[in-house]
Symmetry: C2
Subunit: 197 residues, 2 copies
């Protein structure tokens, strides 16, 4: 990602256009019903209108390309403003909720669904795309524990998973109902808050 940004800043329009076309072609193929199976360097090249060599110059293999493409759609969560834990979690919850309608949401289901068949791709996706997002939530919870807002014995992974799970296990593509994120965060805060706080 860093290299890409540098390239863009340096202003290399043709190269940038090619990269965008490649990333979009990858996401289009990934969102199609055949999912990961439908993404081959050949299919991406043909769809993006570039040669295979152009792809291999930037990405060593299909996995690297897919993970890069997913990262362009699912960026790390925005750093919350640093109010109370409740305020920060709510900001993050609303940000996650807002992502649900995005065009490429289906890509992620397809990658998760093929985790067993493509364990390396899935592991890399977790590490490069999902974990940086969870880190943002983890940091809010850790700050809450340090500051005494949250229980001293809080298992951060449980807190992160409960927040993410409560927001993501709904009908795919449907917007969250009004007030849903607030209720989830309030419930979670009661569950993980320091006793009597």
């Amino acid at each position: 990602m860093t290299e890409t940004t540098t390239e863009r800043r340096a202003g290399r329009p043709r190269s940038e256009r090619a990269e965008r076309a490649i990333v979009e072609a990858t996401l289009d193929l990934l969102a199609a019903e055949s999912g990961v199976a439908g993404v081959t360097i050949e299919a991406v090249a043909s769809r993006a209108g570039v040669g295979k060599a152009t792809i291999y110059r930037r990405w060593p293999n299909k996995e690297a390309l897919i993970v890069h493409a997913l990262a362009t759609v699912k960026a790390p969560l925005p750093e919350p403003s640093g109010g109370s834990v409740r305020e920060d979690l709510l900001e993050l919850a609303l940000a996650m909720g807002a992502e649900r309608k995005r065009k490429y949401a289906k890509c992620f289901w397809n990658v998760v669904g093929s985790a067993e068949k493509h364990p390396t791709l899935y592991a890399r996706y977790r590490q490069d795309v999902i974990e940086p997002r969870r880190d943002v939530i983890r940091a809010v919870l850790a700050r809450g524990v340090r500051g005494g807002e949250l229980r001293a014995d809080l298992d951060l992974e449980v807190g992160v998973t409960m927040l993410v799970g409560s927001l993501s296990t709904r009908v795919p593509g449907e917007a969250l109902p009004d007030g849903y994120a607030e209720t989830v965060v309030d419930t979670l805060i009661r569950g993980i808050g320091a006793p009597g706080s």
Copy 2:
């Protein structure tokens, strides 16, 4: 399902064998990378070694067949023993956790992933397979509200979704860590429990 059970009880081994072969072929195809797209009556018939007419005698279309096949793998959750809300939720959570390793878990990801492309199938899957399971959890929560164990203003849907989401948003196919279900249920109970109870 009822008809099938009756048929089985009446002992019609050839018909039963055919039905099993059809259901298994459907699940095999559904678990494959092409997911829902790969399930056609033709492909199922060929894989199960039966004629297409045999399939159409039991299921009017591909959707009905897929939903029936999914229901054979994901039965309604077992009725909990009716102890405290915590005990009942923990029983349900452990039952859900135990399903994670099942051979056909991937079928469900594929159906959810294709929800946008196959909205009728997805809606029917929700109604026939998922909702009966959520009903079991809903009933436990409703009993808790009536009995005063849970908050009077509890939104049952939020409670159900938080429990299911916390257990399902993990690396697919991986067993839940020891003690995870307990921690989730305890956290949730603190979040939804009646104040001071």
